[in-house]
Symmetry: C2
């Protein structure tokens, strides 16, 4: 990169917010995936005007820009695969407004999701999306990758809460897209183009989010199964029976054993699977819902069911779910976390096929995830320095995506496409859909400066 770019960047945002030393560049070279791509320079703008100026500058010098929130992504969206500028958005961290009368919040892109959730809760309302990364990740990143979380089954995913946004387009112009409140609808919902666009179409700087009622009570249940098939069947039976729990999480035997080994809390290590189910609503409604959940679990073969109603007991049941990532990290250093999603009715079939794939390629695979909306997280536990094993991992991952699509599913429920799944995207979109995506990218970003090498790889 030309020194002139760095000099101009320093003039635009102040020298203390521009970093080009090797050690800085390494710090911004990775996210939660396993490859490193150092940017040429790291810039931390403080407001939308600075971002617009940086984008214009990048256009003049034809330098790639990759936007970055907290870089907790699992598909590589925030990693600058073609170098250039890493645009760190964490200084834009103001919660501008929580408008309880209109149930709309306005936040800057770099607000930490959990900080926002807490502020909304304090205002007496509820923002449901709850990606596992919430304590670290930013709202802007959640939207760029369309994050989900356990509550997706009942409340939907990030997409369902985005009303509108302020965006810096690739030519440096600043536009407001979408809507500022829920009932607004004048023309196409351009804002939706940015949801899941992974920083390839514009830099999201401010967001209008929909808020909903806070449920007054919740209850958590843990159901134990001696057959993984039974657990998977419980999920589809539960939804078909008309009761939508707030969360419906599955953990298979390998996951249970890994977590028990890590936490030592007395999980049923001989169980083939457990389901972690939460219901919410009014105090009366949850009693009825919980009864129904227990009935369906028993009918499908659950051998044991624990329930929890106090915050402490609920927290204890969730502890196991939250410990999956660190527990798996203890087993093998490299955790390839996949995100293939299938229609809920296909969960039993998907689980069977995943186990066949793990066996075929002789890989350690834990299966867990948001079973309630078909969003499974098969995680392959491996070692990135074992090249022979990594080759088998690659083959297994490709096969896993093929199976998901074959079952009517998708490459991604909530992790995005990034650089990791870009090679497979055409399987899902088809040739025409892929070409259409490339065309739209080309029009909006003719120079291709925004996050090259992701999504449509354009």
């Amino acid at each position: 990169m030309q020194q002139q770019v760095i000099t101009e960047l320093k003039r635009l945002v102040g020298a203390q917010y521009v970093m080009d030393q090797l050690e800085d560049r390494i710090c911004y070279s990775f996210d939660a995936t396993f490859r490193d791509f150092p940017p040429d320079v790291v810039v931390k703008p403080g407001n939308v005007a600075e971002i617009a100026a940086i984008v214009k500058l990048a256009g003049r010098y034809n330098v790639p820009i990759t936007a970055r929130g907290a870089a907790t992504g699992l598909s590589g969206g925030a990693v600058p695969v073609k170098g250039g500028i890493s645009l760190v958005l964490t200084r834009l961290n103001k919660i501008i407004d929580i408008d309880t009368a209109n149930r709309v919040a306005v936040v800057e892109t770099g607000v930490i999701t959990q900080d926002f959730v807490n502020a909304v809760t304090q205002a007496g309302l509820f923002y449901p999306p709850d990606p596992a990364s919430a304590k670290t990740s930013t709202i802007g990143g959640n939207i760029a990758e369309c994050a989900g979380g356990p509550r997706g089954v009942k409340y939907g995913i990030t997409r369902d809460y985005v009303l509108g946004m302020e965006v810096v387009l690739p030519d440096g112009s600043v536009v407001e897209l979408g809507n500022k409140f829920d009932s607004e609808m004048a023309g196409p919902d351009w804002g939706m183009l940015l949801v899941g666009s992974e920083g390839t179409l514009g830099i999201i700087t401010k967001i209008y989010l929909k808020l909903v009622d806070k449920p007054s009570a919740k209850q958590t249940l843990l159901a134990v199964f001696t057959s993984l098939d039974d657990a998977a069947r419980t999920v589809s039976e539960m939804i078909a029976s008309g009761t939508i729990p707030t969360t419906l999480e599955i953990m298979d035997n390998l996951t249970i054993c890994a977590v028990e080994d890590y936490l030592k809390v007395g999980l049923p290590v001989s169980a083939e699977a457990i389901l972690l189910i939460e219901v919410d609503g009014s105090t009366k409604a949850i009693v009825k819902q919980a009864e129904h959940v227990i009935k369906v679990c028993r009918q499908c073969g659950a051998t044991e069911i624990q329930t929890a109603s106090t915050p402490e007991d609920i927290d204890k049941l969730w502890q196991a779910r939250r410990a999956i990532s660190p527990a798996c990290g203890k087993i093998n250093p490299t955790k390839i976390s996949e995100d293939a999603t299938v229609p809920r009715s296909q969960i039993p079939a998907m689980v069977r096929r995943l186990r066949e794939i793990a066996q075929k390629y002789n890989l350690k695979m834990v299966i867990f995830g948001h079973a309630g909306d078909g969003n499974l997280h098969p995680n392959i536990l491996s070692n990135k320095h074992d090249h022979e094993e990594m080759e088998r991992v690659e083959q297994a991952v490709a096969e896993l995506f093929k199976v998901a699509l074959e079952l009517g599913g998708t490459l991604s429920g909530e992790h995005g496409i990034g650089y990791m799944k870009a090679p497979f995207l055409q399987w899902e979109t088809g040739e025409t859909g892929f070409a259409a995506g490339k065309t739209i990218k080309k029009v909006i970003d003719p120079q291709g400066i925004l996050n090259p090498g992701k999504l449509f790889n354009a």
Copy 2:
């Protein structure tokens, strides 16, 4: 139009589905707005392959195509303002699948909304969007205009139920956009570009729709107010208090009198306003909700409250709401139905400003609408043959839009932009937003053959 186009159209879809006689063209020249634009030819294709072929043909001969469902639109979206082909989609009327396990329905574009709602209800689930036109309008039209309805306040609008769709693009290629189930999210949600696009970006041929739980009970309440301000304030207080009714409809005194004159059912003609409020949920929950609704209404000055729980009584209360359109039609022949929407907290201010506008231009204006989500329908009752009056109407409409935008609102909550509001769209989008809309239209439809003269007028 060249005779050759008509000959080729007949070859493509069969002569009985191509009409070019004056009387046919007149029948397809209008919708629920008040101007007529006859197409050069009317075509009724039977499947997506025929539609793709027609679009390619239109491209070759550079002939405009305006898609049309039932043409119940209130902004002129389905009217062929530049002539050319009126593409009537009503033969694509199959409900392909109602998948209760995955809570997804797949329908062809020309399915009548109410037929679809009935089929979903019979399958034990619920499709909430309920535009007033539901008995006539088509699902494809609902999506192209992003229709809403009274239930929007609790359940959201059509946009919130669209998962994905099959679309014929302006070059005649057929693509699947968006998602087939709720938790799918691979790349940007292109499908959302088509929602509210009014046939300017593609012809929607098949749609994937999200279904939800059917509430087990409902209760309807009618609250009478001696002050319109009090009624408007009740709406914002109700939402802010944390109870979201299923519907929250307002009718002002002129509306009440018009309906009473038409129906003679004993409506309170001296009331300044009534609110029609419905709550739904479990049998127990609605009792609590109704109590709360009554409390808020009384606190805000309601002088009388009627309640209804049986289907017959509920229907009686709704009769008045449903009769507004025919009742107004009896007063003056031309009903200019506007759709400006403001944040809920601004309803009292908007109602005051609307009354000032009516007075200033000496016009008969009834105010009613989906107050719960800020979507008011000020209707100006006039006579299109009285040119002096129509000039005042035009000025009043422009002022009404200005006020809505000034209060943080929008030109359209559910009626779309069409040709009617196209001249005002730039006020809402700003110059950059408008230019962006024009650019995207130009890329997707470089020849401009799809519904020219609407939205971005490109």
